[in-house]
Amino acid sequence: MPNKKQMYDKGKVVIGLCILVALMTFPFWYNLGKAAPAPEPKLSEKAKAAKECVMPKAYMTSGHMQLLNEWRDTVVRDAKRIYTNPSGKKFNMSLSNTCLDCHVEKAEFCDKCHNYASVTPYCWDCHIDPKEAK
């Protein structure tokens, strides 16, 4: 009669299961002992003084990339440079001249979250931060 307690090829099966458990719990031991606080982007004095960005903060946090994408298309395709936000305020649609004018330090503002979320927007391939370029 087959002995229900016995495992065949026990060594191989146990190794396979260990690999499974190791892979499934990878994030747990990869982050062991590392403190990874969420980034706090630093607002410049000018940004603080302006109080509100082009759109409300909640929208900007998750939707700024879409807004910038629209800006690019509007500027490049329609040659329109002026953006009017819902409250009627006008902005020059420019990453380097408008956004970076307020958010002066790219490294302290943009990069902090981008690095944390592991995104590398190709915007920066062309639009250099004037300060970094020096």
């Binding site: 495992m7 499974l20 499934m24 990869y30 990874a36």
Partner: protein
């Protein structure tokens, strides 16, 4: 309408509503964000181990590899060393090709009656193509998700994300694997409902994982490209989970919890479903054995010590009686005394 997929579809819709509405109740975020995901991971790991150990306890009395080529034989006959492996190396190569490229599915054929009653077999590669797309896309998406669970993010994860988004469409950049996943799941579903024979053999347990994975990919895509999610907030939350210091982050939104709940359900359901083919492929005796029964002796593992009585012992026991009635024996009784010579034969 077909009960099998209606029930599965309704189940997934109910799960959606459960999470979407449920997070708004007090404690909902803790329940759907922390308790359920941890529980699901534990069920997945323990359930998986349990299932595999159960399989490992089943004896495999014979070598039963499926062979698709000439067995190793006389040296001047060419043998198929991968399709009919006789060595562990051959088995390993065949297994890798199977796991990574779904090689046996590549042989898929379609059998049809043509021109009335003429039977025809045609090659049919779509199932293979979309299954391969599905599995690779799933893996790629999963691997890219490590960016939410590691800090710092390993370079290989960043590299894969870069490759995945190399078309640079839109902002946030389109990830091809997400679209491929959704397309492949859709194909696999349509295949089940459009081909009558496949529809006939499809059960709720075939449709449910498809709908669930469709739901996961759909909510993921919804979140990334359409409804938007505060990704830094999400990562703060996921990192709190994997550093065993879980806490809820406010304002992440319902779609994220639906996504997470679907994934949790998938994890918890996994060990009890056909999805266990993930472990099963490695445990399949038709795949993991070498076809070497002519070269090596394999003893049936459930052979138990049978009480045997060899002919020699039998004759020893009954020799005198056999001789008496005139049965032939192999060893004659040594004549004890010369006075009884007539007794033999």
């Amino acid at each position: 309408m077909n009960i099998s997929y209606m029930y599965s579809l309704i189940a997934v819709i109910v799960l959606f509503l459960l999470a979407y509405v449920g997070v708004n109740f007090p404690g909902g975020e803790v329940f759907f964000g922390i308790i359920i995901p941890y529980l699901a991971l534990i069920i997945f790991i323990l359930g998986f181990i349990n299932r595999v150990i159960d399989w490992a306890r089943s004896p495999v009395p014979f070598r039963i590899p499926t062979t698709c080529g000439q067995q190793k034989t006389l040296p001047w006959i060419k043998s198929a060393n991968i399709d009919n492996p006789t060595t562990t190396g051959g088995v390993v190569v065949r297994m890798i090709l199977e796991v990574v490229f779904l090689r046996s599915l590549f042989r898929n054929t379609k059998c049809e009656l043509k021109e009335g009653d003429k039977i025809s077999y045609e090659w049919e590669k779509w199932l293979w193509l979309f299954s391969l797309t599905f599995h690779w896309a799933f893996f790629t998406v999963l691997f890219r998700h490590l960016r939410l669970f590691t800090e710092p993010v390993p370079a290989c994860v960043e590299l894969l994300a870069k490759l995945d988004g190399f078309l640079q469409i839109g902002m946030p950049g389109l990830m091809l694997s997400g679209v491929a996943l959704l397309a492949a799941v859709t194909f696999l579903f349509l295949r089940r409902i459009l081909i009558p024979q496949v529809k006939y053999i499809s059960l709720g347990s075939d449709y449910f994982p498809l709908f669930l994975i469709f739901g996961i990919a759909f909510t993921g895509i919804l979140m990334r490209y359409f409804t938007k999610v505060d990704i830094v907030g999400v990562k703060e939350f996921t990192m709190s989970l994997v550093t065993l210091n879980p806490h809820v982050i406010k304002g992440i939104g319902g779609v994220f919890y639906v996504h997470l709940f679907f994934v949790s359900v998938l994890l918890a359901y996994f060990p009890f479903s056909k999805l266990m083919h993930l472990g099963g492929i490695f445990m399949s005796p038709t795949r993991n054995l070498a076809n070497n029964s002519r070269a090596k002796r394999h003893v049936n593992p459930w052979n138990y010590p049978v009480k045997i009585h060899t002919y020699d012992a039998y004759e020893d026991e009954f020799r005198e009686k056999m001789v008496e009635v005139g049965l032939p024996v192999e060893k004659m009784i040594a004549p004890e005394t010369p006075e009884e010579p007539e007794e033999k034969e």
